[in-house]
Amino acid sequence: MSSQPSASFDAIVVGGGHNGLVAGAYLAKAGLRTLVLEKRATLGGTLETRPLADGKCAPGLFHTVGRLRPSVARELGLRGHGLKLVAPEVRAFAPQPDGRAVTLWADAARTADELRAWSRADGAAWVEFDRHVRALAAFIASLNDATPPATSGGSVGDAITGLLLGRAFKKLSKDDARQLLRILPMAIADFVAESFESDPVRAAIAMRAVAFTALGSWSMGTTAALLADSAGNDGGAAGQTVYAMGGPGALADALAAAARGFGAEIRTGAEVLGVTTADGRVTGVTLASGEEIAAPIVASGLDPKRTLLGLLPPLELGPNLRWRAGNIRQPGRVARVNLGLSTLPVFPAAGEPEEASRRLRGRILVGATGIDDMERAFDASKYGRVSEALLLEATIPTLVDPSLAPDGGHVMSVIAQYVPYRLADGTWDADAREALGDRVVARLESVAPGISALVTAREVLTPVDLEAEYGLTGGHPYHQEPSLDAWFAWRPLVGHARYRMPVAGLYLVGPGAHPGGGVTGAPAQNAVKEILADRKRR
């Protein structure tokens, strides 16, 4: 039994994750009566600060926010809503089994200096490599800003896009331009090998290229993933490391405050069951409570498979699109482990305590010992197994933000790469989850001996948990694999890369849309431009 529509809005945003909030804020800012509906009790989705059992707080899925689009932060006035970002001078620290380490700094000259300890040639190569990555990433960034062109027909708008892209392409030097087309599809293993000879240096750079993907360091397309990660941040080849004070949830809070400030209404605990349609147009949404809310525009922050197959009435899709949507690849390969620690663990490779506390402020890369070592960790996951030698990206946010551990001590947040969503033997039950936690701690022990004795609280989220907790189909943090088959004008699907879903009035604003995943707000910002353009046209 359904009740009468309770209220009417100009636009409804499904999902109060960070892209949903960005969309809600921009729509409200443009004067639309906007409602954001979030199923969970808290806002922000994966952008969350979670309590640990020992009273400390830890990040939900993403632990750094350096790729947040500066224009989003500026236009939504996030600083005024309490957002404070801190970027330590160190970007990544990769301890090695022999007690040495590769450290990448924000300052390219400093990185180059330190890399000389690995190889003179590598030290010499860094500055040019960093420049090259920045030049190519700047081109990708201009792609990311644009709504992809339509692949069928062709319109004036597309011609303009083409022109803009052409201009960005022209900004590249002739050599960079020629190289771009060669480099984009490359495996990261080959790309780093063209500049560096030390395996640990190659691996430390390559980690970012495979993060959150089901790709190995030898997989084609991983260089594009690295450039996408470098696009729109200041990190160049070292990558970004930026913390939101108060944890990632503080960014979600600022986004929600901004949205409300522009007049958007936000409801939590409001699960959307489906989108209602009439005559091929969106008419509103139905909630799990049975409530129906009318609106001519629905912007979905859910993943594309959930949006197309879960929200829409099946008849609206047709068999062809159903088949294609069903084949959207979402192979989650990432697990999360958060640790409450009584004191700062000792990483011998980071040097004396004072020096260590400086070097450990960035991303700590465990397992970045060599390209083939990385590939072996990947191999196991292809067959549904968890490697003994997982790749870890850890942060200790309490080094820059002690507020996360009010009673002292530290928090370590670990993203474990190459943990398959589907296990070949067994399922992700409590035993498997704890075994994974043990494996991650043991892996940390290899570079920070004694760390296990410091653990005061531990939370493990497997890919299946990430799916249940955050509604990520397949457990994929990017809503869809960021490989070349789901890129730019064909992300999430050919014919639907311009944020418009197959029913008029339905839009995709989450990372399943161009330019993809991570804490950027970019897909939502791009999508709202299209929503407003369509609205003007009507």
């Binding site: 069928s152 088959d485 064909w490 699907l493």
Partner: protein, 533 residues
């Protein structure tokens, strides 16, 4: 110096011979220099065991360009392709047999999965459509991406326009083919493991990639490209062995006036004193030959690093040549047999051996074979593609006897540190292949008369294939089209005037196509403003 040629071609493989024939057809005085005693390069046959003729390296043909067959009248010169009928995938206790009889194939797939049988028809249609769309690329000269000359872009723009007109479903399929792994692409359609595994195999042949590596789906198309020429079947054998294809092109070339010399290895290309222009070649014998144009059909590393003195090329260009990826990944095991082997589970008769026999039981089998190679050792359980040409063409073996050709992947040229070199593990490699096939055909060992193993190192030493790469360089997306062999140098020219390329390192890559040789010749004639006859 005895005489001066308009063009000297280095290398008498199928591409070198094709270039020569086209140049001669336009009236150029042309000489082909082949280092080996027999012509054909990797497109070759040899009677290695008395009475048995092996297609030593490449063993089937599908993509030989129909315009070349027509222009050079190859049928008159002995080209005769016999059909290769279907693919048999033996399994433990069962098999999957697809053949040219469509109804039979559908029945067979339906035996495995009704969904797959339905999907198979649709898939075949879609792939045929895709092949028709993509084929013009094979006849196109890639523009320099930074070029602003609209004429350079006509072909690509036309393709872009055609793409915009494709139905969405075909656009999606095309983009998937260009970017996905063969396994992911096939996973969209099928559920039957041996079917997916066997189909995926065509995506990895000759590459250092696995069936789960992005970029391998593209090659799936090649199976459908040959098919739609009408004149041709998807895959076939040349009568008398693969070498007869080269001999047909050579015969056509000679008829057009081309001079061909074998056992005439080139040691270097001669240049003007300023070093910016080619003037001819010096043979290993010391003999000098003058020419207005030198065209190399050797791979890009040999073309630039072996035939030229160091320091001649721009530094940046040379660096790019050095990083061009070869990474040979395959080997051959050629067997002379007393009789045909019998596969334990078979459909009866010998009909099923007239096509390919593919050892590809599952995607995991395929992928694990690749895992071994990634870390520098040959696959402990490889993928093997077997043919028995003597069943279709009895002329290649003594009466009642047979030749068995096993293409094996993976056999990485670059072996792990500490491993035995190829000369010392070739024997073990051959045995692994024979043992694996024997699991499915237990009497194999009893019928072997002689075995001949070709390692990637042999391919490099004996055929000049750098690092044993059968395609003159990896056919991965970053080494195709605009970027093959070097970004900005995809138009058969080199930084040295009058020194050109026409081998498989150039667009559109390897395989017995001849397209490279033809396109290079046409570009050269155009540059020299010679009318094409």
């Amino acid at each position: 110096m005895a005489q001066r040629y308009d063009a000297v071609i280095i290398g008498g493989g199928h591409n070198g011979l094709t270039t020569a024939a086209y140049l001669a057809k336009a009236g150029w005085k042309t000489l082909v220099l082949e280092k080996r005693r027999i012509l054909g390069g990797a497109t070759t046959s040899d009677e290695i065991v008395p009475g048995y003729t092996f297609s030593v390296l490449s063993y089937v043909v599908s993509l030989l360009r129909p315009e070349i067959i027509r222009d050079l009248e190859l049928a008159k010169h002995g080209l005769e392709i016999l059909p290769l009928d279907g693919t048999f995938t033996p399994l433990h206790g069962d098999y999957l047999w697809r053949r040219d009889d469509h109804a039979a194939t559908m029945r067979e797939i339906r035996r495995w999965s009704a969904t797959d049988a339905d999907a198979y028809e649709e898939y075949g249609q879609l792939m045929a459509d895709m092949a028709r769309f993509i084929k013009p690329i094979l006849g196109m000269v890639p523009p320099d991406p930074t070029s602003i000359d609209p004429r350079d872009w006509l072909g690509v723009l036309g393709l872009g326009r055609d793409f915009a007109r494709l139905p969405e479903r075909q656009q999606a399929a095309f983009l998937g083919l260009m970017t996905m792994s063969a396994a992911d692409f096939l996973d969209q359609w099928f559920e039957t493991e041996p079917l997916k595994a066997t189909m995926s195999a065509s995506g990895i042949i000759g590459t250092f990639l696995g069936v789960r590596s992005p970029g391998t789906a593209y090659v799936l198309l090649h199976h459908y490209m040959g098919e739609i020429d009408g004149a041709f079947r998807a895959w076939g054998f040349q009568k008398g062995g693969t070498g007869a294809i080269s001999y047909a092109i050579a015969s056509a070339a000679r008829a057009l006036g081309v001079e061909i010399r074998t056992e005439a290895g080139v040691s270097r290309v001669t240049l003007t004193p300023s070093g910016d222009r080619a003037t001819g070649v010096v043979l290993e014998s010391g003999e000098e030959i003058a020419a207005n144009v030198v065209v190399s059909s050797a791979d890009v590393r040999r073309t630039f690093l072996q035939f030229l003195e160091p320091g001649i090329l721009p530094e940046d260009f040379e660096a790019q040549v050095r990083r061009f990826k070869f990474r040979g990944s395959s080997g051959k095991v050629n067997l002379a047999l007393d009789a045909l082997p019998t596969f334990t589970t078979n459909p009866g008769g010998t009909e099923y051996l007239r096509g390919a026999v593919s050892i590809s039981p599952s995607l995991e089998h395929m992928e694990r074979a690749y895992d071994d190679a990634k870390y520098g050792r040959f696959s402990r359980r490889p993928y093997v593609d077997i043919v028995f040409p003597s069943l279709v063409d009895p002329s290649v073996a003594p009466p009642g006897k047979h030749v068995m050709s096993c293409f094996v992947q993976y056999a990485p040229y670059n072996l792990a540190e500490g491993a035995l070199d190829w000369d010392n593990q070739k024997e073990a490699f051959g045995n692994v292949v024979i043992d694996l096939v024997s699991e499915f055909a237990p009497n194999l060992k009893d019928v072997i008369v002689e075995k001949h193993v070709v390692s990637p190192l042999d391919m490099e030493r004996d055929w000049g294939l750098t690092e044993g790469n059968i395609f003159h360089g990896e056919l991965s997306l970053e080494q195709l089209f605009f970027s093959r062999p070097i970004p900005g140098w995809a138009r058969y020219r080199t930084p040295i005037r009058d020194y050109w390329m026409c081998g498989s390192s150039t667009h559109p890559g390897g395989g017995i196509m001849g397209a490279n040789g033809r396109l290079a010749a046409l570009q050269l004639l155009k540059a020299r403003k010679t009318k094409v006859a």
